[in-house]
């Protein structure tokens, strides 16, 4: 199938996913208890005050009218203004996104840097001390909740040894510890996969061919097996990256980073309808886009799948 058709189809699918996700969220947030007008009004306001605010937000209209209105504006790439802060949703998201993006990028890089070499060595030297160490690390990474890891890292490297800042945002130094605690949990997954994938590749027939050709063990393992073993690792890392973009809330909270996750969390707590809707569309879109790119990357890495 020509690449362009593949891309168009995938893109259409992506749009469908986003539309479905945003429609679900649109109705869900209006059905669940909680009302942005009541949040704005606060404790001492009267019912009339709340009604006035509701009218101003437009949440007094029938839900179908609201939905059609929203769809129309989304079609024009306008996510509206936040109900609570009044700022344009798009602007808010775009302001936050680079932070989460940096966090996720560094996180996945650190995860891969830790996991891939360790996973490869574990696979090559199975049941050796390195392997056990790798297993231990990955199990700990999976078992320790990230907020816990984050606090421990802060206590160690921002309080006991003062090399990283305790809070705040700005330069890269603010991202090292959060990325590390984000990356460690992911490293666990990637390490297990790398090891399994490498073990599997090493058991394949072409490895016998490579050895029968008289290649050195290093060439066999690191030239022949490694490349093939990394194909699934890289695709899974890509998907993990997608998760990190939306799943960094807890890390952002612990490290006081003004990322997308916290924006979204506040949005949900305050029932900021427009913000949640915009945020979900954005995150679903980015996530699907990453999946899509990962698919393309996969076909590039794996000549067998290459479309054409």
């Amino acid at each position: 199938m020509p690449l362009i058709i593949f891309i168009i189809k995938r893109f259409f699918r992506l749009i469908l996913t986003v539309l479905l996700v945003s429609t679900i969220i649109f109705f869900v947030i209006r059905v669940i208890p909680g009302d942005p007008a009541a949040v704005i009004a606060g404790i001492d306001a009267t019912q009339a005050d709340v009604a006035a605010i509701r009218a101003q937000l437009g949440t007094d209209k029938p839900i179908s009218v609201q939905y059609i209105h929203w769809l129309r504006s989304v079609a024009l790439f306008d996510f509206g203004n936040s109900m609570i802060t009044g700022e344009p949703v798009t602007k808010q998201i775009l302001k936050r996104f680079p932070i989460t993006l940096t966090l996720a990028t560094l996180g996945i890089l650190m995860g891969m840097l830790i996991a891939i070499p360790l996973g490869v060595i574990s696979a090559v030297k199975r049941w050796s001390p390195v392997d056990y160490f790798g297993m231990l690390l990955s199990q700990i990474g999976m078992a320790v909740p990230s907020f816990w890891l984050g606090i421990i890292l802060l206590l160690l490297f921002a309080v006991k040894i003062h090399i990283f800042p305790l809070f705040g945002s700005g330069g890269i130094k603010y991202y090292i510890l959060p990325s590390l605690s984000l990356g460690l949990a992911r490293a666990a997954v990637i390490l297990r996969l790398t090891r399994a994938s490498m073990v599997e590749e090493l058991s394949k027939e072409y490895i016998i061919t490579a050895r029968a050709k008289g290649l050195t063990e290093r060439l066999v393992k690191y030239k022949h097996a490694l490349k093939n073993a990394l194909i699934p690792v890289i695709t899974v890392s890509g998907i993990q990256f997608g998760y990190m973009l939306g799943g960094a809330i807890i890390i952002e909270q612990v490290f006081s980073l003004p990322g997308l996750g916290r924006l979204f969390l506040t949005g949900i707590y305050q029932r900021d309808f427009t913000l949640i809707q915009g945020g979900v569309v954005f995150i679903a879109f980015v996530f699907s886009l990453i999946n899509f790119l990962v698919d393309i990357l996969y076909s590039v890495l794996n000549p067998k799948i290459r479309v054409g």
Partner: protein, 503 residues
């Protein structure tokens, strides 16, 4: 394999290098005050919110015509002086001369008029509009005189002017539809320099501030840190100068550090467990009384809220109108049990205790209440909800049996008491006598006259117990030893950095 390891090390080093460079670059700027704020203000428009955090921050950016001093007494601010007509319907304010807004505009009476017209306008949809509902019209006889004409006498009027929502905005920007939410412009001691949501708010000194020589510190940074343990570590390590309202459980840790001092003060909160008096079995006075007997108030105050003064009615402990009724319902679980038996409440009746999950202290208290109520034979189930659910379901629609909350103190008792005794309030407690007393007190002037009315109303509330009155808690501010002069405005609990300085 060795080579691979080497490569890994190199890559790691390359990755960490920029971090190292940044770390090495020592910043030698003038010291800014670092203040830990637990959350983000939603907006910085004083007329479009009811958020406590917003008003706390806005105190530094805006001024009001009058303001409370450290004792809670209302004193001149942007208004040099004021006078009231004998019928209490005409209020005349004389503005201070030479006050300028951050944008350079001079403060005149037109600004004041525009400000209050904006908040009263339907278009603004301000949740605080009703605070100024008594105003009939505003006159500006000259640039420095403002005259408010009221529909009826209003005792709380001055308090409204002194509150955060009484902040004065420049007329020119109001007319142009300026976005005050993210770019506030006021006459306050500081102007907003930078606001990174969920990260920090940077305030720069206003060099033209009308109080000569104030503020003392050039830059105040409000660091938004949601994680409590980070705040504690921050103040210990000196990365934070002031942390307000630290948890009492953290005090031992903080006190162990010689560079930190703890300032303890009584808040103006009215901590209660509200009861829905319209729902059985809580519509039975005996059950409500039992609940009041069942709670060891001092213990809950100490453990959940960090200590404080027990109250016996619906007003904060230090309020001038406060009257002590604590002897009415002492801690007496035996009596509670009897009353419950008498009222015929069994374990089959489930009482739902709704807690706002974002308020850790209320959740803590709720957990203790549940345990204590269980001990006297009530079946209480906890339900956590987020704030928006609490406010729209519990507060607006009274869908609850029991809930825990703290009512912020008000400059005027009417702000706290208005409406109670009528069914419109969330506790659904019906007592026409109490309601009429409160309504009468609003239009009555003179402290003694009002106090008499309020005494009676508070007594009814204390006896009829639509709430389990807990108390007013202490708050603890942790401050680095070299920082002095940090104030919190009484009743309003806003942050006042004007006198704050480094020693």
């Amino acid at each position: 394999m060795k080579r691979i390891l080497q490569q890994i090390i190199i890559v790691v080093l390359i990755l960490l290098l920029p971090a190292g460079v940044l770390l090495a670059k020592g910043q030698k700027e003038e010291r800014a005050l670092q203040f830990a704020l637990p959350g983000n203000p939603d907006t910085l428009d004083p007329q479009k919110t009811s958020g406590t955090l917003t008003f706390q921050v806005l105190k530094s950016i805006y001024d009001t015509l009058v303001e409370p001093d450290q004792t809670g007494k209302i004193v001149p601010a942007l208004a040099e002086k004021w006078s009231v007509s004998t019928d209490s319907l005409t209020w005349k304010f004389t503005l201070r001369k030479g006050v300028v807004f951050h944008n350079g505009d001079k403060l005149t009476s037109r600004d004041v008029k525009a400000t209050f017209n904006r908040i009263r306008s339907k278009k603004t949809a301000s949740p605080k509009a009703k605070e100024f509902g008594a105003i009939k019209e505003i006159d500006t006889p000259d640039d420095y005189t403002v005259v408010f004409k009221l529909k009826e006498p209003s005792a709380p009027f001055l308090a409204a002017l002194a509150s955060g929502w009484g902040a004065i905005l420049p007329e020119s920007l109001i007319d142009s539809g300026h976005n005050f939410a993210s770019e506030p412009v006021g006459t306050g001691p500081y102007s907003l320099s930078k606001w990174v949501r969920d990260s920090k708010i940077v305030l720069k000194k206003n060099p033209n501030y009308w109080m000569k020589g104030l503020p003392a510190i050039d830059t105040v940074v409000l660091d938004i840190i949601p994680e409590r343990s980070v705040v504690v570590q921050g103040i210990i390590s000196g990365q934070i100068d002031i942390a307000y309202r630290v948890d009492k459980d953290d005090l031992p840790t903080l006190k162990a550090n010689p560079d930190v001092k703890i300032e303890k003060s009584l808040s103006s909160l009215i901590l209660v467990m509200a009861m829905n008096s319209s729902r059985p079995p809580l519509n039975d006075l005996r059950v409500r009384q039992a609940i009041n007997y069942a709670i060891d108030k001092q213990k809950v105050l100490d453990i959940a809220y960090g200590g404080g003064k027990v109250i016996g009615t619906f007003l904060d402990y230090s309020n001038a109108y406060y009257k002590d009724f604590t002897n009415l319902y002492p801690y007496d679980p035996e009596k509670a049990r009897e009353l419950i038996k008498e009222a015929g409440v069994t374990k089959d009746t489930v009482l739902q205790l709704v807690l706002p999950q974002n308020y850790e202290l209320h959740v803590k208290a709720g957990v203790m209440y549940q345990e204590m109520l269980t001990k006297v034979g009530l079946n209480v189930k906890i339900k956590l909800v987020d704030w928006s659910t609490w406010i729209s379901e519990v507060y607006r629609q009274s869908k609850f049996d029991l809930t825990v909350i703290g009512h912020t103190g008000k400059l005027d008792p009417d702000g706290t008491l208005a409406g109670y005794g009528g069914m419109k309030r969330y506790v659904k407690w019906n007592n026409p006598e109490c309601l009429s007393l409160i309504n009468k007190a609003r239009v009555t002037t003179g402290f003694e006259a009002r106090k008499k009315l309020y005494d009676r109303a508070l007594e009814i509330m204390a006896k009829q117990v639509p709430f389990m009155y807990l108390g007013t808690n202490y708050v603890y501010n942790a401050i680095r030893k070299d920082v002095t002069g940090f104030r919190m405005t009484p009743k309003l609990d806003t942050l006042d950095f004007r006198w704050t300085e480094f020693k």
